[in-house]
């Protein structure tokens, strides 16, 4: 009960800060900006390889089928406006190029069609640009979903360090509540706020980008990730003397965890980069079907990390030499 009272008070405090509200609103732009970035990136990829209209006459239906799969060209039914005219007859290929600049690209298109003719291809329903799908689900969506967590982590550490700097933390500790309860009271509003944002962004994203799966599991995973990050934020800010210091620690932690994926580990250690929460989010949100053996490690690893960091945080809080300034 007392925990809830504290949580309510903290929640009000957060919402009364103008900067937090501005940052919240800024995130909406970030979400839209990120989708735009994905589209832009996919468009650039497409346009630097795009050749243009090509007219093909072929007595080999396999060749025709393969060449029509190539997204770099647009097959047209009249040769007038075509960049290249390709004629396949009795096993010979004639190519008439109208724009010399594209010769190498057209050569590549033909090579690819010939290579892929050797395989029998199943059907795939048409949809969004594959590059867009790839970059959205493997990079941009995880970043959008981690953003509110990082942001909330900062609010949490601010609120602890501020109490420390103003010496109100000691007063708070003299209240007949256990220290863990105080911390939980501080974490609850942050988790609620973070969760609300995560849900809002998932809702918003699924309107723009319809290929997100296992939303409930994803939210559960993010809650566990939050538990880990928020308890470590408590530990860091209890240790840090000033707001600046705690912010520095937190930024480093965030970078270390997020950019774990970007570090080129040697082959034997490559499992390490899968441990980043980015990997878990990608796995959960992008796959239609999941194998339990692949998903459970993420939950186990982050649950253990969350427990350890909660334990460390509560141990640190119980020692007065960390909670007092100086």
């Amino acid at each position: 009960m007392r925990v809830l009272t504290l949580a309510k008070k903290e929640f009000k405090d957060i919402l009364s800060e103008r900067i937090y509200i501005i940052t919240l609103l800024l995130q909406v732009f970030v979400v839209f900006g990120i989708v735009f970035l994905g589209l832009f990136y996919a468009q650039i990829q497409h346009s630097i390889t795009y050749v243009g209209n090509v007219y093909v006459e072929s007595d080999d239906p396999l060749f025709l089928e393969q060449i029509s799969r190539d997204e770099r060209i647009n097959l047209v039914s009249y040769p007038d406006r075509a960049v290249a005219v390709i004629t396949v007859e009795d096993g010979t290929i004639h190519i008439e190029m109208r724009v010399a600049w594209f010769t190498r690209d057209v050569e590549d298109v033909i090579k690819r069609a010939y290579t892929n003719m050797r395989f029998e291809w199943g059907t795939v329903s048409r949809g969004a640009n594959p590059i867009f799908i790839e970059i959205m689900s493997s990079l941009l969506i995880p970043l959008v979903l981690l953003l509110p967590i990082f942001f909330s982590m900062n609010i949490l550490s601010d609120s602890i360090v501020k109490e420390k700097e103003r010496k109100t933390l000691e007063i708070l500790f003299s209240v007949p509540m256990r220290r863990e309860e105080i911390i939980i009271g501080k974490i609850i509003p942050i988790v609620v706020l973070g969760l609300l944002q995560v849900i809002a962004w998932i809702g918003l994203l699924s309107q723009i980008y319809p290929y997100m799966y296992h939303v409930l599991l994803l939210i559960l995973f993010l809650v566990i990730v939050m538990a880990f990050f928020f308890s470590s934020a408590v530990a860091f800010s209890t240790y840090a003397g000033t707001m600046r210091e705690s912010n520095l620690f937190l930024i480093l932690l965030m970078m270390a965890v997020t950019f774990l994926v970007f570090i080129p580990f040697p082959e034997e250690l490559s499992f390490l980069c899968r441990l980043s929460p980015v990997g878990g989010i990608v796995m959960l949100s992008s796959n239609q079907g999941l194998l339990a053996t692949e998903v459970i490690p993420y939950f186990v690893v982050y649950s253990i990390l969350a427990l350890i960091s909660f334990f460390v945080a509560s141990k640190m809080l119980s020692k007065d030499r960390y909670t007092r300034l100086g």
Binding site: T92, I110, R112, I133, I135, S137, V282
Partner: protein, 399 residues
């Protein structure tokens, strides 16, 4: 005299803090870690047709049962490969666990899975073999594509290649340049600390009551940070130089310019802001704006050399292209230097005003009006004349 004394005092303050030591050590490790990271990116840029982001590793689940494609798919980082029997593959595909099942020479897709499209896209690029027959080529030039479209494409390709070259170039490694920005951020963090902490702890009021002009107080803070920064950058550059990452020390000149600009911007922001939180927020926003501007200005260089003087980054391009003359560099460096000086000047002026300590703080608009618009309107006519002359001279130099 007072200035040098105060600078030394501030320097002592900086080095006494644990924070600086920590940040310094951490920075060192970050620099060591980032270098291989950028090497990976320059490799990616080498072949812009095939970009596999590190986050896309194992992104596409694919089942294979004895196929000529097995080896090449195993080697491709984007695929997460399940080696299975015919039956297992079928059931994996049915449960949507894999997006594609390759059996022998047949490729089956999980039709409505968005990943199947991505898999198809990558599979199509997997093999590249010569056709069995020799194609015959005829060139018959006709204007089927609008010239503008061709030109735009050429420009885009050139830009991509240029970025790739810049990231790999031996003389000026863009990656190391970015790495060195870390030192600048640390220094600006210290500056915010020095200025804003005095407000938060209300020790600034005591400083104001000292028989020292307030601009000297601010300048001593800025100088001490600049000294720390210069030492640090010099240290990193020499380290990188001995590691063989930088071969021309000269090309690091723009970095010093950039750091001066960032420090002066930081000093203005921290003089204006009331608390850490505000300063942090304002600094993040202003850095993003600053970088957007600097980057776009250097992109101007591609289109017209005339605008390039707006960004010190274009200096990098200039030096790299071997077009640098002493006067050319001076003209390219001057605007940034001048802007930084103006920023320092304005922040020193604002620091002297009591409102920024005791409140009520004037609104941003008001400050802008008083500090910028009034003197600017007086200076504008002069500036116009100077600018005209300046572009003329620059033209002469570049051409």
């Amino acid at each position: 005299m007072a200035l040098s004394k105060m600078t030394i005092w501030e320097l002592k303050q900086i080095f006494k803090g644990k924070k600086f030591t920590y940040a310094f050590v951490i920075q060192f490790f970050v620099i060591l870690a980032i270098i291989p990271l950028f090497d990976v990116y320059s490799e990616i840029l080498e072949d812009p047709q095939e970009i596999i982001l590190p986050t896309s590793k194992d992104y596409l689940p694919v089942a294979i049962s004895s196929s000529p494609l097995t080896q090449v798919i195993d080697e491709h980082p984007i695929f997460r490969v399940y080696h299975v029997s015919e039956e297992q593959g079928g059931s994996l595909l049915k449960d949507h666990i894999v997006c594609c099942f390759i059996s022998g020479e047949t490729i089956l897709f999980d039709e409505n899975n968005p990943k199947a499209r991505v898999a198809e896209y990558h599979l199509q690029r997997l093999l590249q073999q010569e056709p069995d027959i020799e194609p015959s080529w005829i060139l018959n030039e006709r204007s089927v594509v609008p010239r503008q479209q061709l030109r735009a494409r050429e420009l885009a390709m050139r830009e991509i290649r240029r970025t790739a070259e810049m990231m790999q170039s031996e003389e000026i490694n863009y990656s190391t340049l970015l790495v060195l920005l870390l030192a600048i951020f640390l220094a600006s963090g210290i500056l915010v600390d020095l200025v804003v902490s005095e407000k938060e702890k209300q020790t600034g009021e005591i400083l104001m009551s000292l028989p020292v002009q307030s601009w000297k107080v601010l300048l001593s803070k800025v100088f001490s940070v600049v000294i720390v920064l210069v030492c640090q950058i010099a240290l990193w550059i020499f380290t990188l130089y001995f590691l063989g990452r930088v071969s021309s020390l000269f090309s690091m000149l723009p970095l010093f310019l950039m750091s001066f600009l960032i420090i002066s911007l930081t000093s203005l922001v921290s003089v204006y802001s009331k608390s850490y939180k505000e300063a942090g927020f304002a600094i993040t926003v202003s850095y993003v704006l600053l970088f957007a501007f600097l980057m776009s200005a250097s992109a101007f260089y591609v289109f017209s050399e005339k605008f390039s003087f707006l960004s010190p980054l274009s200096l990098v391009v200039m030096i790299e292209k071997g077009q640098s003359t002493v006067s050319g560099i001076v003209y390219a460096a001057l605007p940034v230097f001048l802007v930084s000086c103006v920023l320092i000047f304005v922040s020193a002026r604002l620091y002297g005003r009591d409102e920024f300590y005791f409140g009520p703080r004037p609104s941003l608009f008001r400050v802008l009006l008083e500090e910028a618009v009034k003197p600017l309107s007086a200076l504008l006519s002069w500036l116009l004349v100077i600018l005209l002359l300046y572009t003329d001279i620059l033209n002469g130099v570049v051409l």
